[in-house]
Symmetry: C2
């Protein structure tokens, strides 16, 4: 049973996990050094705890206590109860969904563990925006992908903004970091996956054709700005494209990475 602790001093050291949430650089250090991450909003806090991440503490205004009472009943982590104004002062932004939780990260699983039993896998090369990583993982989980692998430079899926946009999909979809960028795609091929790179390259075939009849598929997506690296495009077994309706002459020549990922996951799952 979580102990409710009223806190009235914004400098109270027990609130350290929740400081300056908009300062990305500072948060990266703090979260890495303490092995923590933040969940925001009643639904996402609930999903994080239910997924088994051990809470360090909660922070919320009184009106959120009722909705999370059953979650608070499952843990001994303290719940710091503060005014909404103080929540804003500590975190540096308006916490409009009220509840926050600080939870312990867990060691990432191995690639082999993540791939075990998976038939459709999402592979992200350098998706550096937290919102995009969250959106892509949410779509992947909803649209039937079994797991996700993230290249070393991808944004952190457990960063608050990614967790929020993913609506908790980062807790339900098995994922891990690829230890090695160079050999990532060949290793997947050796593991029996057809690696399908989404690209606008000249030899790209329509995605639906690329995945038709394939058993295990690894769908490979690149960064927001420049798409996949040349190396990964060449290393993939197949290059594929989502057919666009019109040419670049009318000014729309591609989808953003989150939209492309949603369509690609749908097509891959429907194979």
């Amino acid at each position: 049973m979580s102990e409710l602790v009223e806190v009235t001093d914004p400098d109270d050291p027990r609130l350290a996990d929740y400081r300056d949430l908009r300062d990305v650089a500072l948060r990266r250090h703090l979260e890495a050094e303490h092995g923590l991450f933040l969940a925001e909003g009643e639904k996402v806090v609930r999903r994080a705890v239910e997924a088994g991440y051990p809470p360090r503490s909660f922070l919320m205004a009184p009106r959120w206590l009722d909705g999370l009472a059953d979650v608070l009943a499952t843990t001994d982590a303290p719940c710091y109860v503060v005014s909404e104004a103080m929540a804003e002062e500590v975190t540096g932004f308006h916490v409009h969904r009220g509840a926050l939780a600080s939870l312990e990260r867990r060691p990432l699983p191995s690639v082999d563990d993540v791939l075990a039993g998976a038939r459709s896998v999402l592979v992200l090369e350098d998706v550096v925006d937290h919102t995009n990583v969250g959106a892509v993982l949410r779509s992947g989980a909803a649209l039937g992908m079994d797991a996700a692998l993230l290249a070393p430079r991808c944004a952190d899926p457990l960063y608050r903004r990614a967790v929020k946009v993913a609506m908790g999909a980062v807790f339900s979809l098995p994922w891990t970091r690829l230890p090695d960028w160079d050999d990532a795609l060949p290793a997947l091929s050796r593991a029996g996956f057809t690696t399908v790179a989404l690209t606008l390259a000249d030899d790209a075939v329509p995605l639906a054709d690329a995945v038709a009849g394939r058993d295990k598929v690894a769908l490979v997506l690149g960064s927001e700005g420049h798409g996949l690296s040349e190396r990964w495009q060449r290393a993939a077994d197949v290059r594929a494209v989502i057919p666009m309706a019109r040419g670049p002459e009318v000014g729309v020549d591609s989808l953003n990475v989150a939209a492309a990922a949603a369509v690609a996951c749908y097509v891959t799952s429907a194979r």
Copy 2:
């Protein structure tokens, strides 16, 4: 040929179109009263001008002049040249893609004009977030929708943030406002469209089945939070769903509206 005008006083009244770009409420009034909208970034500025929107003026730091020289050559609207620090002071944010343009809005076309010749139409009920409106229109344009109709409460597609996220699709995809919320879907049915409402309702059929073999389709999407209104769900000819891979028990029971729109446009275009 645009005249280059160096401006060094951030209070110069000629910069009025560019003030306080982050203040949504203030910008709404200013843009409505003066019939203007803003385009941001070299590519989007270019597309706005090429689409025929008359520029009122441009605002940019010197390093963006070369890239837009051909665009500036086509107009007599002045180009205010300012330092990057001053651009930030006037607009209230860091203009990281440099160039801005203020352009004249044009009268919206009639629904009949927008529908003329269209086979696949996107209909948005209450998508109130500018980023989502921009993302949905970008996906619609890229994935073969011929036009878009926006209910009265949808966010403004010509608001700067929507224009930016749409990457100019708001200039190439024909769109207009629905004058009437009540009769919108019946009117589309009378015009020969099968109205297909995307919903999680119990009687929803898989979207691919709902659109298969249909001639003219109007794909109807609801708001970010609550989806389509009951009225529109009932008024639609068909209720359809994008099949989700897993049940709500794992915590991902729906897509965000931009991802859902991308998948739905893909499926509708592929019918």
